[in-house]
């Protein structure tokens, strides 16, 4: 469960990216966050992973108040989230396998079981057998799928993705949207941001629309 309560985020320069946002996403929901560039989508998602802290208001995940979390506790919060950020943030000097394995290495997962999970995650995103390749040799869409495989390899209960379909052509984008729908069907709470509201239309998701730092219409 993700709960935002009157969340304001003001960046150090003084710019107000979120101007009092409240909403609730229940366990197992598929929610799509849309809005123009600069509306505050990335900011909202970063608050969930404690990459940014709210200026006022509170963010809580599964009953835990993220905005009041001690710095030491933040890594453990992130381990329970699957995170796909706007920039892929892959390691380009590591193979696809090693990239996807990273969250398991961080949690000290036994290596043999980790290798199995990596293979399963790659299969899930349609990249079976590509593990030995380097990310730079993959297409943009394939790199995005590597980032998604990395986000789900730890089997998180919440998956957060920031414009995972940006820079992809429509066919690829729909494929990725279906992928998120399938994770959601398997019980994962999914929150995806996108420019393109039509993208998830066929999956009838919960809609959150941001405009200049405020939630619009029914989502509010």
């Amino acid at each position: 469960m993700i709960v935002f309560n009157e969340v304001v985020k003001q960046y150090p320069g003084g710019y107000t990216a979120l101007a009092g946002v409240s909403f609730e996403i229940r366990h197992g929901e598929l929610a799509v966050l849309s809005g123009h560039s600069g509306a505050g989508k990335s900011t909202l998602l970063k608050l969930i992973a404690a990459i940014e802290r709210p200026t006022s208001g509170s963010v809580s995940i599964n009953g835990q108040n993220v905005s009041a979390l001690r710095p030491r506790a933040i890594p453990y919060l992130r381990r329970n989230l699957g995170l796909v950020l706007q920039e892929h943030r892959l390691l380009y000097d590591r193979s696809v396998d090693d990239n996807v394995m990273l969250p398991l290495v961080i949690t000290g997962h036994p290596p043999r079981d980790a290798a199995k999970r990596v293979a399963a995650a790659l299969e899930r995103v349609g990249l079976s057998g590509r593990g030995r390749e380097m990310p730079a040799g993959l297409s943009g869409g394939e790199q995005q799928r590597v980032a998604i495989a990395r986000a789900i390899v730890n089997r998180p209960s919440i998956l957060i993705a920031d414009e995972p379909t940006a820079h992809l052509d429509v066919a690829y984008a729909n494929e990725i949207a279906s992928l998120f729908k399938s994770f959601n069907a398997a019980g994962v709470t999914v929150l995806v941001s996108t420019h393109d509201e039509r993208l998830f239309a066929q999956h009838s998701p919960r809609r959150l629309v941001l405009h200049k730092g405020l939630l619009q219409g029914a989502g509010a």
Binding site: I51, L85, L91, T107, R150, N154
Partner: protein, 300 residues
């Protein structure tokens, strides 16, 4: 617990890989650390060798009490009586003038002494005090000198004292040197780790986003610093051993010309372990400071 070992093992392997991935840099760092450390290590060893040499030569410090040439037999007997009853002394030995002369003749000066009509040597007492307190020596010196018929009181320990003072000074100098060079090594490691953190900034940020704790991120750097220090310690040890080996022959033959038996000894197991441990500690310290300074959370 096994997870803890696994994570440390992984950090250790990662540090090893980083060292192996830049063999030239690793070699140069190890040489810098090693050569810098070999100076105080060799100094320490030199002092240790001289000290053991001094211990072998000096034995227990003694006081020689020389009677004057014209001291009467009563004076000598009175002096001996006082020595016999003195509770501050562990013992004494009376060397008569005849005995002293015979010793000199045995020593190969027979020809010279043969030309003398009278024995020029005085009676003497070689006194061993109880204890090694310098104050005791000074008070005994003053007392003996005041006795009738005593011409000269000599503290045989004087040169040993001077040597010990000198060795003490040497030890301080070596400590100071070790401190200074150790500091330099901490700075060298600090900088190496700083550069590593810069080049791995991206990986560190990504790892943090995926839930890496601070210890997880720091561990490989600690291992790297310690291993680099340890490698430097190995170079230092090898340098010292090579020096001892190279100087061993010449020193032994030099000692022989003075009729002494003296072999230069290299660092023993304890000293070797201390050098390696010290080097690894310095590396760890440098990395720890660097990591504290450069790994404060900074995410976009």
């Amino acid at each position: 617990m096994s997870n803890w070992f696994y994570l440390h093992g992984r950090a250790f392997m990662q540090a090893l890989r980083r060292l192996a991935s830049q063999p030239l840099g690793t070699l140069l760092s190890a040489l810098v650390v090693g050569i810098a450390l070999s100076l105080p290590a060799a100094g320490y060893l030199l002092i240790d060798n001289v000290a053991s040499l001094a211990r072998g030569v000096s034995g227990t410090p003694e006081i020689s009490v020389f009677m004057s040439q014209d001291a009467s037999a009563e004076d000598i007997a009175a002096a001996e009586k006082r020595l016999r009853g003195d509770a501050q002394l562990a013992g004494y030995r009376h060397v008569t003038k005849d005995e002293a002369l015979r010793q000199l003749e045995k020593g190969g000066l027979g020809d010279v002494l043969g030309g003398l009509t009278a024995n020029p040597l005085p009676d003497a007492f070689i006194v061993t005090p109880r204890g090694e307190d310098p104050a005791l020596y000074d008070s005994l010196h003053a007392r003996f000198a005041a006795w009738p018929g005593v011409a000269h009181v000599q503290l045989d320990s004087a040169w040993v004292k001077r040597l010990h003072a000198l060795l003490g000074l040497g030890r301080s100098a070596v400590l100071l040197l070790a401190g200074l060079l150790g500091f330099a090594l901490v700075i060298v490691t600090f900088n190496t780790i700083r550069l590593q953190i810069l080049t791995q900034r991206h990986e560190i940020d990504v790892s943090r986003l995926l839930g890496a704790t601070d210890p997880f991120i720091r561990r490989p750097f600690y291992w790297f610093g310690s291993l680099q220090g340890l490698l430097g310690g190995c170079v230092a040890l090898a340098t010292v051993w090579a020096t001892v080996h190279a100087l061993g022959g010449p020193v032994a033959s030099l000692a022989e010309t003075y009729g002494a038996v003296f072999a230069l000894t290299g660092p023993g197991p304890h000293e070797s372990a201390a050098i390696l441990g010290f080097a690894a500690f310095l590396g760890w310290l440098g990395s720890a400071i660097s990591v504290r300074r450069h790994l404060a959370e900074r995410l976009t």
